[in-house]
């Protein structure tokens, strides 16, 4: 009897450890060769941006195909289609004035210089601060931006030159009025996120007031277009 109990318990334990080992092995091998978990959030973000992108592309493709159809009808229609396309490209490049809903920002040194919450004594707003604001507006999907009436184009610089900041080679001075066309509430909430750009600039003694507007007007680039070095490369 004593031997039997001993034998039974040993075999019982052996069976159990076998089962456990088996499960353990399966669980471990299942964990290999798959997407790591922390990638999930990244993927979700990527999917979101792709969905938006695909939507924008489809809109543009249907636009363009309408124009191409129109151009096929006749000479007069073709000219009209081209005028529309040219107007669209000029707006996109910053060569035509645009209007639409958006935001108006005023960036300036805090009026009350010794107010609480300033880590550093307020200095001037630098070109870097303005660059960051414009970049943040672009991250939020702005479609057109201007600083103190200077339209931001693909080759606009925002750079300290002497005692002024130049935009498009034109000196501008504070307070800086920045206007942007786009989803006003999305832009405003992105800027005013806790720990976001406005918070960071506040710590440097810079106040940024953002107002949502039903309509902002953004002027065209007023400079000259001359391409001295760049030549278009025609593909066949």
């Amino acid at each position: 009897m004593k031997k039997r109990i001993f034998f039974l318990s040993i075999s019982f334990v052996a069976v159990l450890s076998g089962v456990i080992l088996g499960y353990q092995f399966r669980a471990t091998s299942a964990g290999n060769n798959v997407v790591p978990l922390d990638r999930e959030q990244e993927l979700a973000l990527e999917k979101k941006s792709l969905v938006e992108d695909l939507y924008e592309m489809r809109v543009e493709i249907s636009d363009l195909s309408a124009r191409l159809d129109q151009a096929g009808v006749g000479q007069r229609e073709a000219e009209q289609a081209l005028e529309r396309e040219l107007a669209r490209i000029r707006r996109f490049a910053g060569l035509a004035p645009v209007s639409g809903p958006g935001v108006e920002l005023v960036a300036q040194i805090h009026p009350e210089q010794d107010g609480p919450g300033t880590v550093q004594p307020p200095k001037d707003i630098t070109d870097e601060h303005l660059l960051k604001i414009v970049n943040e507006l672009n991250k939020a999907g702005s479609e057109a931006i201007a600083i103190n009436g200077q339209r931001i184009t693909p080759i606009s610089e925002i750079r300290l030159a002497g005692s002024h900041i130049n935009v498009n080679g034109t000196p501008i001075s504070p307070p800086y009025h920045i206007t942007a066309i786009g989803n006003a509430s999305a832009i405003k909430s992105r800027l005013e996120l806790k720990g976001g750009l406005v918070d960071i600039l506040n710590e440097y003694g810079i106040s940024v007031e953002t107002q949502e507007r039903n309509e902002v007007m953004i002027p065209a680039f007023a400079g000259e277009l001359n391409f001295e070095y760049a030549k278009p490369l025609k593909e066949n």
Partner: protein
């Protein structure tokens, strides 16, 4: 003695049961874990699928833009033809070639040595923003970053080690190409106390190469205008003709 061995085997079985339960518990958790992994896998497949679709649409978009541009060459109005060429170059919608510079930014080697803040030794969105801005100030006519054309609406955002430009995730090293005067751009970057000095302070490895000829690709994303209100084309054209 007999009683004692019975007692011991019960203890043993109890212990084993406990271990088994805990293992079982862990396995159940693993299964849930697996569901999350499955979800991520599914998501990855979807993203992959969408990327393929994205490529197809991108090619279609570029082809259609090219067709319309081609039509403008046959246009009866020389004004439209000329305007169209200039506007597409300026907008970033054409591939360009010319002399210029190639600036390469690499993460610092020092990042391993200074564990306290390795972040300071990586190339950031700000660094790229500064270099691009400096190039524009030095008269760059077109700029691209790792093959992504810089347009008015180009954003540069930091996303972990990758940087997103025109919504595309790019990995280091970052190669910034610009068409313009190679000498002016180089000396602007290398000015004392300028951008390169600043970046090198953080150990970022910067190299500038002047090139006789380089090409810059066209912007290949969509032209987004969901919020811009289309003005009356006629009034816009009248304004254009007067200027």
């Amino acid at each position: 003695m007999r009683f004692k061995s019975y007692y011991w085997s019960v203890v043993l079985v109890g212990l084993v049961l406990g271990v088994m339960l805990s293992v079982q518990f862990r396995i159940t958790r693993d299964v849930q874990h697996n569901k999350a992994i499955q979800r991520a896998q599914e998501l990855a497949d979807q993203v992959e699928q969408m990327k393929k679709e994205h490529e197809v649409l991108q090619a279609q978009l570029l082809r259609m833009r090219g067709q319309l541009e081609g039509l403008s060459n046959e246009s009866l109005s020389p004004q439209i033809k000329e305007e169209m060429e200039l506007a597409t170059i300026f907008a970033g919608l054409t591939k360009l070639t010319g002399s210029g510079v190639e600036v390469t930014l690499r993460d610092s080697n020092a990042s391993q040595k200074f564990i306290d803040n390795p972040n300071a030794y990586l190339v950031h969105d700000e660094d790229i923003l500064k270099v691009v801005n400096e190039l524009k100030a030095a008269g760059a006519e077109a700029v691209a970053i790792n093959g992504q054309r810089v347009i008015a609406a180009t954003e540069i955002s930091c996303n972990g080690p990758a940087i997103r430009i025109n919504k595309k995730a790019l990995a280091p090293p970052f190669v910034i190409t610009a068409i313009g005067s190679p000498e002016t751009m180089e000396s602007a970057l290398k000015m004392r106390g300028g951008v390169i000095d600043y970046l090198q302070f953080f150990g970022i490895q910067v190299s500038v190469k002047k090139l006789e000829q380089l090409t810059i690709p066209a912007y290949s994303g969509s032209i987004k205008s969901d919020y811009i209100i289309e003005a009356d084309i006629d009034t816009e054209f009248n304004a254009l003709n007067q200027s």
